[in-house]
């Protein structure tokens, strides 16, 4: 039976009966290749695996696929987190207020009378409320795929979990026994 996702799917992870698909290299398993692709190995291991990749086409291919997945996930995350940067402007304003206050001599109310202290508190409150309004008023953008799968189990001969590139729509495909 022709595979329903051929040439149309992306970010594909195939699990066959709970085990990773067999890899045509006896030296390195897919998990090791994945760590290599994420540079999550020691520098000696990285050099050794890189040398191995020069002569092993299956490992080289698999590493390329893992890197492609990482790049697409990261670029989606960066697009979403850019919108959060503006919220940090409020921290800069509050830091400046603090530095100004430290310059003034200390007293019962920090050299201010009760009216001035109230004015300062109200000013700070307005800054927080306006800042929160600007930050929260934007539609909340939650990065990542439409669904994160915590686990799958059952009487299935195979399970595939993937996410489409453009809309990050999550699909779980299982084959009944």
């Amino acid at each position: 039976m022709k595979h329903p996702f051929e040439a149309k799917s992306s970010c594909l992870e195939i699990i066959n009966g709970g085990n990773a698909m067999s890899h045509a290299c006896s030296k390195y398993d897919p998990e090791s290749i994945s760590r290599f692709a994420d540079s999550a190995v020691s520098s000696e291991e990285y050099k050794e695996m890189k040398r191995h990749m020069e002569t092993c086409a299956p490992c080289r291919k698999l590493a390329g696929e893992y890197r492609a997945i990482s790049i697409s996930l990261k670029s989606a995350l960066y697009r979403e987190t850019d919108s959060l940067a503006e919220g940090f402007a409020l921290d800069g304003v509050l830091s400046r207020i603090e530095r100004e206050k430290r310059r003034r001599p200390a007293g019962l109310f920090g050299a201010y009378g009760p009216k001035k202290i109230l004015l300062q508190a109200v000013s700070i409150a307005v800054i927080i409320v306006v800042g929160a309004g600007i930050y929260l008023g934007k539609p909340s953008v939650i990065p990542g795929p439409s669904a994160i799968v915590n686990y799958v189990e059952g009487d299935a001969s195979s399970v595939m979990i993937f996410e489409t590139m453009e809309e990050q729509h999550t699909v779980i495909w299982y084959t009944e026994t």
Binding site: I128, V152, H169, T170
Partner: protein, 151 residues
């Protein structure tokens, strides 16, 4: 910063929190389950699918998508909703938590009374997931699950 100023700011920042906790408990989870028959026997997209039909054609190689059933449920947390499916199957879905803007769902599909498939997902509010695979009438069944929060 003096104690008075700290106290004022702390009061302003903490004031929404008790209300937020109560709101999560009161919220209902709107869950929309659509059961779709996909096949390559003909070339037809059910108008009832609307935008979902276009999404499915971009993911799968099937040429025909027909909506068999749609069930919209307003579930409380830990309340299970059930959808009967073709082929003596039943899909049970339970929202169990809300965290980081995602609804945690537990989904169970049985066939002939026996468990066939179980999963737990964290679904982005206002998004959907598609679960598919079971064979049915020269095609397959797809289950599109949409979830959002109604306050």
């Amino acid at each position: 910063m003096t104690g008075l100023r700290k106290l004022l700011i702390l009061m302003l920042l903490l004031s929404p929190l008790p209300a937020a906790g109560a709101k999560v408990a009161e919220a209902k989870v709107l869950t929309d389950v659509r059961v779709i028959h996909a096949s390559a026997k003909s070339d037809h997209i059910d108008p009832a699918l609307r935008g979902l039909g276009r999404k499915l054609t971009s993911i799968f190689r099937y040429t025909s998508y027909r909506q068999i059933k749609q069930k919209k449920m307003r579930l409380e947390y830990r309340q299970t909703g059930a959808v009967s499916l073709p082929g003596r199957r039943i899909l049970e879905i339970t929202p169990v938590d809300l965290a980081g803007g995602r609804i945690k769902y537990r989904i169970r599909i049985t066939k002939g009374g026996s468990p066939a498939f179980r999963t737990e997902i964290m679904l982005k509010k206002g998004s959907s997931i598609t679960i598919g695979g079971p064979e049915f009438k020269d095609g397959v069944l797809l289950f599109n699950i949409f979830g959002t929060i109604q306050k």
